[in-house]
């Protein structure tokens, strides 16, 4: 089902699959090209459904890929390239959303849930251990002792 939708989306956005990065876009310096590829995977193709510009062959994605490579050629660091693109297209272009007020839930949510779950588990286990310890060590009352003796005698 998931693929059915993905496929439909690909159809809607008039993409044929594959063939994102084109040979004529690539930088001659392999190290710089590798950096460009890494950066491309962090950037969203704005007209696509959840694709990075590295995976997409939409014309806009190509423009962005060329832009990234131009900035790298101009000597920008990776962070500066990302900042350059974000300044023009907004945070929406980042596939790793920035840490800010509206994304607090996104970044801290998983850890908050883990923490709450861990506290819950701890309380549960401690509560259970209390019960267990109680069950193990509660002394017999005089009445229970008498009944136990009676049972033991019956066995003999």
């Amino acid at each position: 089902m998931k693929r059915v939708l993905l496929a439909t989306l690909l159809a809607l956005s008039t993409l044929s699959p594959a063939l994102a990065v084109q040979p004529d876009e690539m930088l001659p310096d392999p190290a710089m090209e590798a950096r460009a590829r890494d950066i491309s995977q962090e950037l969203r193709c704005l007209v696509c459904q959840n694709q990075s510009i590295d995976d997409s062959n939409a014309p806009l994605a190509r423009d962005l890929r060329l832009l990234v490579r131009d900035r790298l050629k101009a000597g920008d660091s990776d962070d500066k390239v990302l900042a350059f693109v974000t300044d023009r297209y907004g945070d929406y272009v980042l596939l790793r959303p920035p840490f800010k007020a509206t994304t607090l839930v996104l970044w801290l949510g998983p850890f908050a849930i883990l923490l709450l779950g861990a506290i819950g588990t701890f309380l549960f286990l401690r509560g259970r251990r209390g019960v267990a310890a109680g069950a193990d060590t509660a002394p017999l009352s005089a009445d229970e002792r008498r009944r136990l003796d009676a049972l033991l005698r019956k066995d003999e």
Partner: protein, 664 residues
């Protein structure tokens, strides 16, 4: 005529579902056996009726009856027969019918095989199944009727999306749906148990086989989808953290947790309330996956707002099912008596940790998938959440799951000695050190740190799981024949666990290998050109035109050699489907099990003399899916455990045979 019969069968099925729901619920409350028993024939009748509807739709597709709108929109007379049949579920309406076929087949299975269930529980389980059936039948009949006619009938259809005309994708939805819908059994059993007010080890024993079956098929469905993406989308990725993928991944994660917590209920009569909650959550996530994909909300919040009929319906269904069952849970769960006690360091404790981490993992995917939608709907801005986010948040949670997975089976129930367990794992520790050393040596020229972590984890999971098995059969401590004898007599559930856990190690191996060491070459090549990738020489021999049944293709021929010796001939295609005017890439893959050589033929260059060719070397990638198949097999082997077999406990009692070895 036949489509009308299908339509009629669906309407009838709706009323039969009502009969499957109301009288049995009343009967169970008033202890009226006759009313309760109505559920059995009703469940079987509902299945038959839905199958008739499904058959009618399939018939319309097979004979290309273009007076049916659904066939017009999704088929074509020239489409190969395989895709005429699979095209039935390759569209919205048909896929919903498949959904309900699965639902009713599961329901009928309980009706037929559930003879040893307590009558009230059985009646209530079937009633809840009937209730789900009512919801989905109403959905189909009111918003997604596949039997609508077009008059006058067009001469031919619009054809199925070519990306779906692929054997891998043809069988992906049935597996996925069997998994999604299979979790409805756990849900129905949970709701029925809440109505009964009783959960005991016998309950868990009835729930576990259904959960195992659902989990196994869902695993297979996800693996198939991932494999399809790998070879069809043409750039060799295997997981994209796409919301549509996440929609199936969430029930899988929650279902994995459920599978494990149900063991604690069965063996130790503990974690009952939690297991009930997980059953509800797992199926709710399946419903939510259906909502996400079927409502179109993922495409755009705006598109959803324009035509919200289907989306709203599923949302209401989701709200009723989840809200209703959670309400019932909050009322009844406190009355469930807590059972067996255990210390934190114990098998139970390890399974609790498994559940804590898997729940966190599920929540991480949930937040990452839904929070952007939430922000958008609330007009608080738009954010993108993609692979970099999930790699940063999901992976740190997943790693401890795998580490703990190996240690858990070494711990005894109730109270265990962690130090002793770790000592018995020394072989796995040695394997980890060896894996790290070999990896560091292989990528001495500089490689990602993640490769070291991944390989260590893979070694730990694979070797650790085998060590556990070796310990069980006392390998090398008793004579070989004794070990063999022990292995043969181990319960199937023990075999299943070892196979599934070790397979996770194999999948991690594949994921690590291809992520860390794939080699890529994207070049414009003319026939006669050579490219060297990862020590292999690829020669582009020629391009020829090929006529398919409903497409025309350019087929490239590549000869691959290594050190002058021939390795393979690869023939990737670029297909153009005339009706839909879409192009697909059919990549050609040569696999050696240890790596894949992958060639995709792209667009011709501007002047038309060369083609853009993508060549990849993907080390270890086949192991991702070998591991996936292994996980599914582990589930299926565990399913054949004799304590799950229909009527096995009763037969044993009658024959007075000794009980089989306990599972631990």
């Amino acid at each position: 005529m036949i489509p009308e019969l299908g339509h009629y069968a669906l309407v009838l099925a709706l009323f039969v579902a009502l009969v499957q729901t109301v009288p049995p619920l009343v009967g169970a409350a008033t202890r009226n056996a006759a009313w309760m028993n109505v559920a059995v024939p009703a469940a079987i009748a509902q299945m038959l009726l839905v199958l008739i509807a499904y058959g009618a739709l399939t018939w319309a597709h097979v004979v290309s009856d273009f007076s049916v709108l659904n066939v017009v929109q999704n088929s074509h007379s020239l489409k190969p027969m395989l895709y005429k049949v699979s095209g039935v579920w390759g569209n919205h309406e048909g896929s919903m019918i498949l959904w309900i076929v699965m639902l009713t087949v599961f329901g009928a299975a309980v009706a037929v095989f559930g003879r040893n269930l307590p009558p009230t529980l059985k009646a209530r389980v079937l009633a809840v199944q009937g209730l789900i059936g009512i919801g989905f039948l109403l959905f189909i009949l009111m918003t997604s009727n596949p039997f609508i006619r077009v008059i006058p009938a067009p001469l031919d259809g619009n054809d199925l999306n070519p990306l779906l005309q692929d054997p891998g994708l043809a069988f992906h939805p049935p597996f996925l749906y069997a998994g999604y819908v299979g979790f409805s059994m756990a849900f129905s059993f949970a709701v029925a148990a809440l109505i009964e007010g009783r959960v005991d080890p016998a309950w868990a024993r009835w729930v576990r086989p259904w959960t195992l079956a659902a989990w196994s098929t869902l695993t297979m469905g996800i693996a198939m989808g991932s494999w399809w993406a790998y070879y069809e989308l043409g750039w060799g990725g295997w997981w994209y953290w796409d919301p549509v993928e996440n929609a199936s991944f969430m029930p899988w994660l929650a279902g994995t947790a459920l599978l494990h917590s149900a063991i604690v209920v069965e063996k130790r009569d503990a974690l009952k309330s939690w297991t009930i909650l997980l059953s509800i959550v797992t199926f709710s996530l399946s419903l939510m996956g259906t909502f996400l994909v079927r409502s179109g909300i993922l495409t755009s919040v705006h598109a959803f707002a324009v035509d919200p009929k289907r989306g709203i319906f599923i949302l209401v269904l989701l709200a009723v099912a989840t809200g209703g069952s959670l309400l019932l849970y909050s009322l009844r769960a406190p009355a469930l008596k807590a059972g067996g006690l255990f210390a934190p360091i114990s098998r139970e404790g390890a399974l609790v940790l498994n559940n804590l981490l898997l729940s966190t993992a599920t929540a991480t995917v949930f937040i990452g998938t839904l929070y952007p939608l939430f922000l958008d709907i609330m007009k608080l801005g738009k954010v993108s959440v993609g692979a970099p986010f999930f790699n940063a948040t999901f992976v740190p949670v997943a790693i401890p799951v795998v580490i703990a997975m190996v240690v858990g089976p070494f711990l005894s129930w109730k109270r265990a000695d962690l130090g002793a367990a770790l000592t018995r794992l020394w072989v796995a520790g040695v394997a980890v050190v060896a894996a790290v050393a070999v990896t560091a040596y292989v990528q001495a020229g500089g490689g990602p740190l993640t490769a070291l972590v991944g390989m260590a984890l893979a070694a730990w999971a694979f070797v650790g799981s085998l060590v556990e098995f070796a310990e069980r059969i006392r390998l090398f401590r008793v004579p070989m024949a004794d070990s063999w004898n022990r292995a043969v007599h181990l319960p199937r559930s023990a075999w299943g666990m070892t196979i599934a856990h070790a397979s996770i190690g194999l999948s991690i191996l594949g994921m690590t290998g291809t992520s860390a060491w794939q080699t890529e070459s994207i070049t414009a090549m003319k026939p006669g050109d050579h490219t060297a990738v990862a020590g292999y020489e690829f020669r582009f021999d020629s391009v020829g035109l090929v006529d398919g049944p409903n497409f025309k293709a350019e087929r490239g021929v590549f000869t691959v050699t290594r050190d002058g010796k021939p390795v393979a001939t690869l023939e990737p295609e670029r297909r153009s489907y005339s009706t839909t005017r879409m192009t697909t890439t059919e990549s050609a893959i040569h696999t050696t099990v240890f790596s894949d050589l992958y060639v995709a033929l792209g667009d011709p260059t501007q002047n038309g003399s060369a083609w853009i060719v993508r060549i990849y070397h993907h080390p270890l990638v086949p192991w991702i899916w070998i591991g996936g198949v292994g996980m599914m097999l582990g589930g299926l082997v565990s399913l054949t455990d004799r304590r799950f077999r229909v009527g096995a406990p009763e037969r044993r009692r009658r024959q007075g045979k000794a009980a089989p070895l306990p599972a631990e």
